[in-house]
């Protein structure tokens, strides 16, 4: 299969996602076909892109990949990888969409391939970032990504660097090691593109946070907080479960909830004519009004997002209260000058929420859910073991014959064909 061909055909897909175009080597490159295909070449097959998963599917797939690891270890690896992506992103100056897309690609990949310890191996994190950078028009070459990764992982070597930015000069490193890492990155990239079915059309929640926030007349402070929560939501699997506009509404809900919780009820509108946070939180937790239809989002979506985000916050408040060791990515590099380290340390200890508060909010949410209605989950196409095993990695390295990578699940053709007519 020609990779370049596949990527190219991916780009022109929008009008004809289910066409008979096959992203394989074109017939003009192949020798004349024998009358009967040799029996060891498998029959042509199709793989369908599944843009979103249900909780059940995610649990099913994750468990398969977890192997002997505990769920806690899996979560720790996930957070470590996300932190590493944040660190490289900050160093290179990637915009938020590139970092977030990379995190989502990473999560998706590890539903189908087991995760190694990201402290030791960073091939998958870098490959995810490389794919994301291409997708988001913020291209960086593999060597540049490797240079940033080495700089972060080897602060002693970085400290010796003559580069004004403190970046490691690749020429000072063992060329074989760099080349090996580069090859690994490109190999993983290919597998990663297959798990995405070469579909580069990911939309992000960030613009929706602003658009919907403004439309709802939420305050800028609330929207800013919601944006930050959206950033953090990419440390969870929420972007694989909910479409970006729903995730955006959910983040606005959490922001409003946290800003208004346990605060005295003030005026409904502020000086700028924006609704107060408690009004917003109330609106997004009841069925009245048109907002669910308007934003294609349900109360149960918001509640689910809230619980997941609160769980993440609780997890992080507990990490920070136990002192982190210098080797974890969350503490400042030992090579920073003393005064900067002190400032960062002061920032680090500041977390606005106590675990007890957050747990209390969760309990309140659950109580309200059971009072008003049983937790309503939205219906999905039924999760089936067969669908999920479409992505089995059992055939790595084997000739799979012709594989058609389809951009949408079967049945999704309806809405796009309607548009074309």
């Amino acid at each position: 299969m020609s990779m370049k061909h596949a990527v190219h055909s991916g780009a022109s897909s929008a009008a004809d996602p289910q066409g008979s175009r096959t992203p394989t080597a074109s017939t003009s490159q192949m020798p004349i076909m024998p009358p009967h295909p040799p029996s060891h070449i498998p029959a042509p097959s199709s793989r369908f892109y599944q843009p979103y998963f249900s909780h059940a599917e995610i649990e099913f797939l994750s468990e398969k990949q977890r192997g002997k690891q505990s769920a806690t270890q899996e979560e720790r690896n996930r957070q470590s990888a996300c932190t590493f992506l944040e660190a490289i992103g900050a160093r290179i100056g990637f915009p938020r969409r590139t970092i977030a897309t990379a995190q989502a690609i990473y999560h998706r990949f590890h539903l189908f391939y087991p995760a190694k310890n990201p402290q030791k191996d960073f091939d998958t994190t870098l490959a995810a970032l490389y794919v994301s950078a291409k997708e988001n028009d913020t291209l960086k070459k593999p060597r540049e990504l490797l240079a940033a990764a080495y700089t972060i992982r080897r602060p002693e070597a970085a400290a010796k660097s003559k580069n004004p930015m403190g970046d490691i000069d690749l020429d000072t490193m063992n060329p074989q090691e760099v080349e090996n890492d580069r090859q690994k990155l490109l190999t993983v990239e290919r597998l990663m593109l297959e798990t995405m079915c070469f579909n580069f059309a990911a939309r992000m929640p960030f613009p929706y946070v602003i658009k919907i926030g403004k439309k709802m007349n939420a305050s800028k402070k609330c929207i800013k907080f919601a944006w930050r929560i959206a950033i953090d939501s990419f440390r969870t699997l929420l972007p694989l479960i909910y479409p970006p506009h729903t995730l955006a509404v959910g983040c606005i809900y959490v922001a409003a909830l946290l800003l208004s919780y346990d605060k005295p009820e003030g005026p409904e509108k502020d000086a700028d004519g924006n609704w107060s946070e408690s009004v917003i939180a109330r609106r997004l937790s009841t069925h009245s009004g048109d907002w669910q239809r308007e934003y294609r989002t349900k109360v149960s979506d918001c509640e689910d997002i809230a619980h997941t985000v609160l769980d993440l916050f609780i997890q992080f408040t507990q990490i920070q209260s136990t002192n982190a060791s210098p080797s974890t990515p969350s503490s400042p590099s030992p090579n920073l000058p003393i005064r900067e380290k002190h400032n960062l340390h002061a920032l680090q200890l500041q977390h606005p929420f106590k675990p007890d508060q957050l747990i209390q909010i969760k309990i309140t949410l659950r109580e309200r859910e059971s009072e008003n209605h049983p937790v309503r989950k939205r219906k999905r196409v039924k999760a089936s073991a067969e669908r999920s095993t479409q992505y089995s990695n059992e055939n790595i390295g084997q000739n799979e014959g012709t594989v058609r990578f389809m951009f949408f699940p079967p049945g999704a053709i309806a809405i796009t064909e309607k548009k074309a007519s």
Binding site: G93, D137, K214, Q348, K418
Partner: protein
């Protein structure tokens, strides 16, 4: 070297400034190296030259200032010793750029037809400075407003005297230079200010945990502030887009969904899988 010699050498290199990166970096390097003691003198030279040279050379000077700002800010973020930290606290040449920005822009984009070749590039550079926080957004807004407030030159204006108009050769050369520089600008446009000072970002910290009401803008919020201004309001395209995404995420028909009203009964299509 004494200030007089520094001036002479600087002007010498400045006169040979062209659109190439090499030429720009040479001038930036000299300026930065000689900032201690001769910063004001060098800045004086810049202001003098930008008034004298051709229109093409003036945009070259602005691109030089672009690189100069980037370098100054990088140096400011990365100074290690306490003593030089104090010396660099004003961002080396940044204080002069900020103080004299209006003057510089007035000369790079003079009023009337003669300034038109430089207008678009100048605006692009200023937008870039704004997004990357080389200067305060309000400062940049002032200058942009000043440019926008000018009367647009009419087509019927008399052609300028020959010393100021460009020959065909120069025009072609300028087109090539612009093409290269726009390409470079486009490639670097997405780079966030965090790259100047990655240590200021706490990678292991949740974004939501930073304080919300701070006097200074936090690095984590810079992109938000930029997007706040540029993101368009909710419109029909957004409505269509979320319809599509919602359908992809939740393709089942809503009538099974515990009796709640369907989102858009007329628009929803039943899919084959039902």
């Amino acid at each position: 070297m004494d200030p007089f010699e520094v001036r002479m050498q600087f002007i010498d290199i400045l006169k040979r400034l062209n659109a190439s990166q090499q030429s720009i970096q040479k001038l930036v390097g000299f300026a930065v190296k000689n900032f201690p003691g001769c910063g004001e003198d060098i800045w004086d030279c810049v202001l003098e030259e930008v008034q004298k040279v051709s229109i093409n050379s003036r945009i070259n000077i602005l691109y030089f200032l672009d690189s100069l700002c980037e370098t100054c800010l990088m140096i400011k973020s990365h100074t290690r010793s306490e003593r030089t930290k104090e010396a660099n606290a004003n961002g080396l040449y940044m204080q002069f750029v900020s103080r004299d920005l209006n003057k510089v822009i007035e000369h790079v984009v003079p009023e009337g037809r003669q300034g038109m070749p430089n207008l678009i590039s100048t605006k692009q550079i200023l937008e870039n400075w704004r997004n990357k926080r080389y200067l305060e957004p309000q400062r940049i807004d002032q200058v942009l407003a000043f440019l926008d407030a000018r009367p647009k030159p009419s087509i019927s204006e008399e052609a300028e005297p020959s010393t100021k108009s460009l020959s065909k050769n120069e025009v072609n050369k300028r087109i090539e230079q612009d093409r290269e520089r726009h390409k470079r600008l486009r490639e670097g446009r997405w780079v966030q200010p965090t790259s100047r000072n990655p240590a200021s970002v706490q990678a292991g910290q949740l974004a939501s945990f930073y304080p919300l009401d701070t006097a200074e803008e936090l690095p984590v919020d810079i992109e938000f502030e930029n997007e706040w201004e540029t993101t368009s309001d909710w419109n029909d395209d957004d409505q269509e887009a979320i319809d599509e995404e919602d359908h992809l995420a939740f393709p089942s028909s809503a009538s099974e969904d515990e009796g709640e009203a369907d989102f858009a009964p007329s628009k929803r299509m039943r899919t084959d899988s039902q």
